[in-house]
Symmetry: D2
């Protein structure tokens, strides 16, 4: 009789539950990891609301760290018992998209995002890691789980937001919304040399974190149009780049409006909640001729990127743990999920321990 | 009494006329060029229709070559009588935008496009060249005017379209519309290593030119949705990049739809004719997460770029002159302008000789 | 009793022979290909001369195409009998180097170059393809073997030479030596938009091929210092980029000398023949301050790149087959190897048919 | 009778003196600035030793800030009395090199470095600013001279060193020598997202500054080969990038040795002191095939770059002033120059006040 484990699954639209499942076995190129810590992601909240067509019973979760439980026959260079983190995006690293560097588009649009969407996720006591050679990222000894787990998605995605803003040192940048991904983009923009960061956010506890993570100025949209506020603060010039970390048509449009000619809009918000097309206002878009660029993206995958993030965590340059507003044992994961859904109690990220 | 010259001006919305104006004098950093050949641009047709707020009496034109008539006191390195071409975009090359490389955004959005919009254009017997040191491009002896004049706007803009498509060798690219700018983008995409070019066009004479300039396949939208046709021809994959050279919401949207995840949309079409915002369909835009990028732009300015185009013309790699479907003397410039407005007689570009 | 095949191996320093070996079996992620055509590479000549420490009996060869003979248990998306080409460099596509995009440095310096160096090469009737999912490139039906086989190394390497020259359209470029790799770089520079190509070569038949592949001017170094010749032809300016395709200290230094300030030197020559360090002359190197850049590289691996090359071959934009000066059946492969070693009879590339 | 001013000039090889010169008048596109603060640069020490052929009597200096004294007739957008900084490199911003973005190569190799080399420098009570529209950088009100003056050369050059290292976030980088330019490169590498910085330096006070500016580990070359020390600390991997800020053949070679395959060497050291060519060791250079890249450069010019540096100073992200180990009034500038030459008293940068 196979050993079993507990996993948080989607029960039906709008509901989750913890169920027993067999502990998985790794295929030749796979690994199985025993989870030690995980974060709950708003993406899973979207999924449970029905944003993505996922069969009921599918395990949720894609931000987990743990120790290697078993290794597939073809996986070399790792040992059972080794501490590892696994990127939310687990590419094959061999298809045409991966070879072109678009690891989050592995096999096709958004295809690198396999957990929950294509296969069981990792909010479970054990989980499978595909293409283990490329997707297992050893955690340095002196780096605790509760810090390393932020490399799985939050920091990788937020940093991508800053990368797609193509910042030159000293550039001005506006970041719309300071949820965990927006805060991570603030960390990233600050890390990569921005000179003046405008963080758009109205909730005081997020404003405070934004400042702590490098925002120079907080733009509270409850005080008026954030685009106008930023234009006023820049003598009408606008910013060199804007990062959309909210996922709404209005903030997307605000990003186009607030950038200078030649500016870059980097989208990391998920636009699946609103059914209408995004719009590009002709004047702010320069009738298609003002050298603006818009980049979209999804958390880039793989272990190499995580190793670079680990260096930033180890050296103390980056500390994402203030985003952990709540901690729960896995026994209380349903409670944690409910809180992440309601966004009550000023929650930003709940850490789940195993 | 100052010597006079003839110039084609906007008389009122919808009407042009040839008038007498004084031959201009150059300021210290300027030059005055005596025109020998020019092309009429559809942008001027837009301007005369009222697309841009231009005072009546303003000289039209921004694609002219000629010989240096006089040089400002501070201009060195050129001689009177020297054959030169002048970019449609004449940046100051000193403001913050120019220093960042956004020469067509000189001083602010679209600000490098000075002729007609900010000052008299060059569809005239003489014209002023601002920042002459950066904007006079000597024409090599063996390069005729009728070829060199295509470097002023058409090739520079079309090549920018290909540059913003960030092609790797062998990439697939779709180019929407094969007017003179779209044809120039086809030349550019072929020049920069595209592996398979889909040219979207329904007019037979433009289809033929597109093939001649490097298009591998012609997509006639009168035969059905061009996006579907291209998807069918690529086994559903779509293309690595798409270039919008038409300036309509539907073609812009088609560019987003026809590109693969990770694809680039390069906009060179002028979107001032349609008052509605451009739209980004959520599915084709990957909910903002499929690594697509959209770039906009306006003819990059300056002489250095033109000198590189001249090399391509001299070596025979590029020959744009088949786009010249009509030739008129300046005496008939009003007739030429009327034809460019009506787009009759299969006109692509009319060359004006002086 | 295992079926056997014939393979060309290094017998001892300076000697090759054809031996019988068992037909290999694929591992789970591998494929075995039955060879139908191959090219002999000068790299193998170097290897046989002792440039690389290779055990005697190791099969030579890394430029082969064929049909899939058998597939490992974990390989999907391919069929036995399918025509395929295999890149000379066969990366794992999962290590840190591969994840960073340095596929030819898979696992460490030059580590993606596995054939002959790390394992049996493919100048044999059958050969193994590691990481088959990433390294099998299906050959389009209408593309003959004798053309496709140039994608394995020659074009991929030559094009890399042009890529590392970071050409903008219309740039000037000098390519030192027009052996098969230099000729491929000429094809590549022409393909990617160079405006004026100087091909440095003294052998008439190679000069002729260089012209055919896009060189504008032939610089015969037997007529004097090629750097001075190019400076004379460019009014003393030099070129925007230089490609070293010879592998000698003097040509490397010439590349540094012949480039303008801001110029790029792209090295594709193999510098293992000369024991001395390469030298950077201080004046031409601007005392380390003239914005010059030097790039080195080795044939980038993988199938995606080859598919892009196939498009260029299919569309007729690139035709490398004039480089095939000789054709031999595999029965005569030792004779072919001897000719490639002596470089007699104006040989450029010998095609081996099976 | 023209008003006069004092200026520090080269008297003869090995000697400087303060002389009286007329206060200069600006040409139409120039400005004259009254100096308020300046730094002495080691480049001037080199110049006085005879490294560059400069006529005796030429004013030294290229790191000065001040207030606008007079403006040329063609200069708009500035006011007399306005506080400004001027880049050490003052490009024309119109020649072919400038149009290509190589502003420090204005007009030809190293040609953007005009002060002292081509014309009087600015270690004087007044100085001329060529192409004032592009080269006057207004200093924000709240930014003191003693901080802003570091933007003229030190930070601009050091940041270029980091830019040419093409860092991705979390990369490892070794910076050879921690003089003022090396320290500035350390600031830059830290600013642009490096994950682990090895600063090679033996002098304790420079080691301490390096740590303060972001170095994670100090490599004291008096304890043994720095390359080996860094290899040991990185498990033999080496670093992603190395910055040469010393200007010696051995450190240049060390940079090539200490980088991984695919690594970048960014040179900012001045190699005019040693007459021999720089050498590239074949093994560390991968026989020309290990995807290493070497970039050289000279302080990029212009005001836009300085404005971005000012933002970093204003926001407190960067504070270079700990490099100011000594302060002198202009009356003591000869004493300051002597100290900079002898490098005694642990001098790093002497600030001169006016």
């Amino acid at each position: 009789m196979a050993a079993t484990m507990r996993a948080l699954v989607i029960k039906e639209i709008g509901a989750v539950e913890v169920v027993e499942k067999p502990i998985p076995e790794p295929g030749p190129e796979e690994a199985v990891v025993r989870t030690t810590a995980a974060l709950i992601c708003t993406s899973d909240v979207h999924t449970v609301k029905g944003a993505l067509p996922v069969p009921f019973g599918r395990t949720l979760g894609h931000e987990s760290v743990g120790v290697i439980h078993s290794l597939g026959s073809a996986v070399t260079g790792f040992q059972e018992g080794q501490r590892v983190a696994v990127n939310a995006v687990t590419p094959c690293y061999r298809c045409s998209y991966c070879q072109r560097g678009f690891t989050s588009q592995c096999g096709g649009p958004l295809g690198g995002y396999k957990y929950t969407v294509q296969t069981d996720g990792n909010m479970a006591e054990y989980f499978v890691v595909p293409a283990a050679a490329a997707n297992l990222a050893p955690i340095p000894d002196n780096l605790p789980d509760e810090s390393a787990v932020y490399a799985c998605d939050m920091l990788s995605t937020g940093f991508m937001g800053a990368e797609h803003a193509y910042l030159q040192f000293g550039d001005t940048v506006a970041i719309f919304a300071q949820g965990p991904v927006g805060l991570s983009a603030t960390i990233g923009a600050n890390l990569m040399g921005a000179g003046r960061i405008f963080a758009v956010e109205s909730r005081p506890e997020r404003q405070e974190l934004a400042r702590r993570f490098g925002a120079d100025e907080i733009i509270d949209f409850s005080n008026g149009d954030p685009v106008q506020q930023i234009l006023d603060l820049t003598d009408g010039a606008g910013v060199d780049a804007a990062i959309e970390a909210f996922g709404f048509p209005q903030t997307f449009e605000a990003c186009v409006r607030v950038t200078k000619a030649g500016g870059r809009v980097s989208n990391i918000g998920y636009h699946g909640e609103n059914p209408n097309p995004l719009q590009l206002p002709l004047d702010a878009f320069g009738l298609g001729m003002n050298d603006k660029a818009i980049h979209t993206g999804l958390c880039p995958g793989g272990s190499e990127r995580m190793e670079r993030i680990f260096r930033l965590l180890q050296s103390g340059r980056v500390d994402p743990t203030p985003m952990t507003t709540h901690t729960f044992g896995f026994d209380d994961v349903e409670k944690a999920f409910a809180l992440m859904t309601s966004k009550e109690d000023n929650i930003i990220k709940p850490l789940i321990t195993f």
